[in-house]
Symmetry: C2
Subunit: 332 residues, 2 copies
C-alpha cells in the first residue's frame, strides 16, 4: 500500500497523514487515531514493504508490566530481554500500574512504534481493545495474567496448584483456622490462587469461612489493612496464605507493630520468592514461580509466532513450595 | 541525504544497504557496522528527512542499566518511564550486566533503532565508543555512573557525601575499628563511596587500615566473601559500611551462618534503601538515594537537550542517612 492509497482510503491529504506519523501532537486526536489504526491495519511503511519486512525493521518487542519495581516483573523482563537480545530484538517497556487507562495508553504507544509484538501482563480490563489490535494483525502474548482473549499465546503459572501447595502445607502442620489475603479478583492469577486455597480446604473437609478470606489489591498497604481485619476477629487465624509478596510485606509490618510473632503466633506462606524472603527473620516459606523459564518461554513463543508458526501455545508452569521458618506446627 | 548518496559514499550497492537495515543477519558484520555508522552519522532516513523529524518519529529513549532486577535500577527506570510517557516517549531497556561487551552491544542495538537519546548507567569501559556516538550527534546522558566523557549531561548522587554520612554515624557511635566493603573501582560511584569512607576516618584522626578495606563486585556473593575475609582477621571490625544493597545481603547471609549478631557484634550501614532493608530484623541503617527525583531529572535533561538546549547539565543529588536498628553504640 502506498501513501497515496492510504490518503484516498482515509479521505485525508498526504500531508496530514505524514504529520500524524511524524508530529502526532500537531494533529487532532481523532484524526491521528484513524491514521494510526489504518497504518497498523495495513502494515503500511514508507516503502510499502511487506509486513514481514516491516517487522524485521523494528525488531522491537513491547512489554507491558504492572510495575517494573516489583521484583517479579523485573525478573520476567530480565529473562525476556536476555532471550530477545540473543535474537536481535530490543524491548520497549511500559508500566500499566494495574490501571486500564494506562494499559490502553501503553498499547497505543507500543503500536505507534510498530513493535513486532506485544507481551502483556494484562489488567484484564481492555478485552475489546486487545481484540481489535489482534484483528489488525498485531502479535499479542499474555503473560502472568490472562486477558480473556481466545486464540492468544499464553504463558502462566498454575496458580491454583501453587495455592493448594501452600494451603496443604498449613493443613499438614495441624492448622485449621487458616485465612487468606487474596488478590483483586479481576486478575486471573488472583482468581486461581483463591480457588486453590478454597479447594485445598474443602478437599480436606475443612469449612471455608468467609471471614477468613480478605481481598487486597496486590499492593503493600492492603496487606497491612487485611491483616488488621483478621486480627480484629474474635478468633484470629493461626495460619495465613498471602497471595503475593508485596501484600506479605504489609502483613509483616502489621505483625511487628502488634508484637505478634511468626511462626509462634501465626504461620505465614506467601506467593513469590522475592529477593528479601530469604533474608527476613524468620525467612519466609513461599510458593516460588520459575520466573526465568517463564520469561524465556514467553519470548520463544513470540519468536515462533514471528516465524509464522500457527498453533496457539498455552504454557502453564508448575510452582514450587519452599519451606523456610515462617511456618510451624500448630501450637496448642 | 538520499540512499543513492549513501551508497556512493560507502561504495556499496543500494540493495546491500537496504539489506543491512532490514535483514541485518544476512549481511557480514563489518559491512553492517559501516552502514549503521554512516546511517547514524548522517541521520539518514528513508525519506531523507531532517534529524529533528527523525527524532520525533521514533520518540523512543534507550536506557542501559546494569540489571533491571536490582531494585535501584528498577526504581530509576520507573521514574524515567513515568516522565517519558507524560511527554509521549517510550523506553527501550537494555541490561549491560556490568559487562563492557554487553554495553557495546546494547549501544549498537539502541542506535540501530534510531533512539532519540541514550541514558547510560555506564560500565565506564567504553569511552571511545561513547565518544564516537556522541560525535555522530547522538544524545547521551550519564546516570548513576560517569562514563568519563566531557560535555555530557550527567545525573549522579554525591556518593562521597553518602559514604561520609555513613562513616561519621559509625564514628559517632564510638566505633574505631570500622571496615568497608567497596564496589569495583572502575565505577565512579564506587570510587566516590570509598573516598568518602577514607576521608571521614582521616578527618576524625582515625587511621585508614588497608585490611579493613575489601573490594567487592557490587554483587551478593562478593559481599559474603568480603565479610568472610574481615571476620578471619585477628581483630575483626566492630562496624561495617557496605557500598551497595546486594553486597549487604551477602554480608547478612554470612553473619547469620556464623551466628554473628547485628548490631551486638557488628554495626552495619549499607548504601541504598532497598525495599527489604526496612523488613529485615533488625531493620537496616542505610544511605538512601532520591531515586525518583534522579530518574525524573534525567528524563528532563534528555527532553531539554532534545529541545535544543545547549548548556551541559551536571546534577548532583544529596543522599540521606536513615538510621534504623542495625547500628548501635560500641559495646565495650
Amino acid at each position: 500500500m502506498t501513501l497515496h492509497e492510504l490518503a484516498k482510503e482515509l479521505n485525508l491529504s498526504i500531508a496530514t497523514i505524514s504529520r500524524a506519523l511524524s508530529r502526532p501532537e500537531d494533529v487532532a486526536p481523532p484524526t491521528r487515531q484513524r491514521v494510526l489504526a489504518a497504518v497498523h491495519r495495513h502494515g503500511y511503511t514508507p516503502h510499502g514493504t511487506s509486513r514481514a519486512l516491516r517487522t524485521q525493521q523494528t525488531r522491537t518487542i513491547g512489554v507491558i508490566v504492572s510495575d517494573i519495581r516489583n521484583f517479579f516483573f523485573a525478573n520476567l523482563v530480565k529473562a525476556i530481554e536476555d532471550e530477545a537480545k540473543a535474537n536481535g530484538y530490543a524491548l520497549l517497556i511500559c508500566n500499566a500500574d494495574e490501571d486500564s487507562a494506562k494499559e490502553e495508553t501503553a498499547l497505543q504507544l507500543l503500536l505507534d512504534r510498530k513493535v513486532a509484538a506485544v507481551i502483556n501482563c494484562s489488567t484484564g480490563a481492555n478485552p475489546d481493545l486487545l481484540r481489535a489490535f489482534q484483528k489488525s494483525g498485531a502479535i499479542l502474548v499474555d503473560l502472568d495474567r490472562e486477558s480473556g482473549l481466545t486464540n492468544i499465546d499464553t504463558v502462566v503459572l498454575d496458580n491454583k496448584k501453587g495455592a493448594e501447595l501452600a494451603t496443604q502445607h498449613l493443613i499438614d502442620l495441624g492448622h485449621r483456622d487458616i485465612a487468606t489475603i487474596a488478590g483483586p479478583q479481576h486478575l486471573s492469577n488472583a482468581r486461581g490462587r483463591l480457588a486453590g486455597f478454597s479447594e485445598a480446604l474443602s478437599g480436606r473437609g475443612i469449612p471455608v469461612k468467609n471471614r477468613y478470606i480478605q481481598f487486597g489489591t496486590f499492593l503493600q498497604q492492603s496487606g497491612f489493612a487485611c491483616a488488621e481485619k483478621l486480627f480484629a476477629l474474635r478468633r484470629p487465624p493461626t495460619a495465613l496464605f498471602v497471595a503475593n509478596a508485596e501484600m506479605a510485606a504489609g502483613v509483616i509490618v502489621f505483625l511487628r507493630e502488634r508484637g505478634i510473632a511468626i511462626p509462634r503466633d501465626i504461620s505465614i506462606v506467601s506467593f513469590d520468592d522475592s529477593f528479601w524472603a530469604r533474608y527476613m527473620d524468620p525467612p519466609l516459606t513461599v510458593v516460588a514461580q520459575p520466573m526465568e523459564k517463564m520469561g524465556k518461554s514467553t519470548m520463544e513463543a513470540v519468536l515462533a509466532r514471528l516465524r509464522g508458526s500457527k498453533p496457539v501455545q498455552r504454557l502453564v508452569f508448575t510452582p514450587e513450595l519452599i519451606v523456610r521458618r515462617s511456618t510451624d506446627s500448630l501450637q496448642r
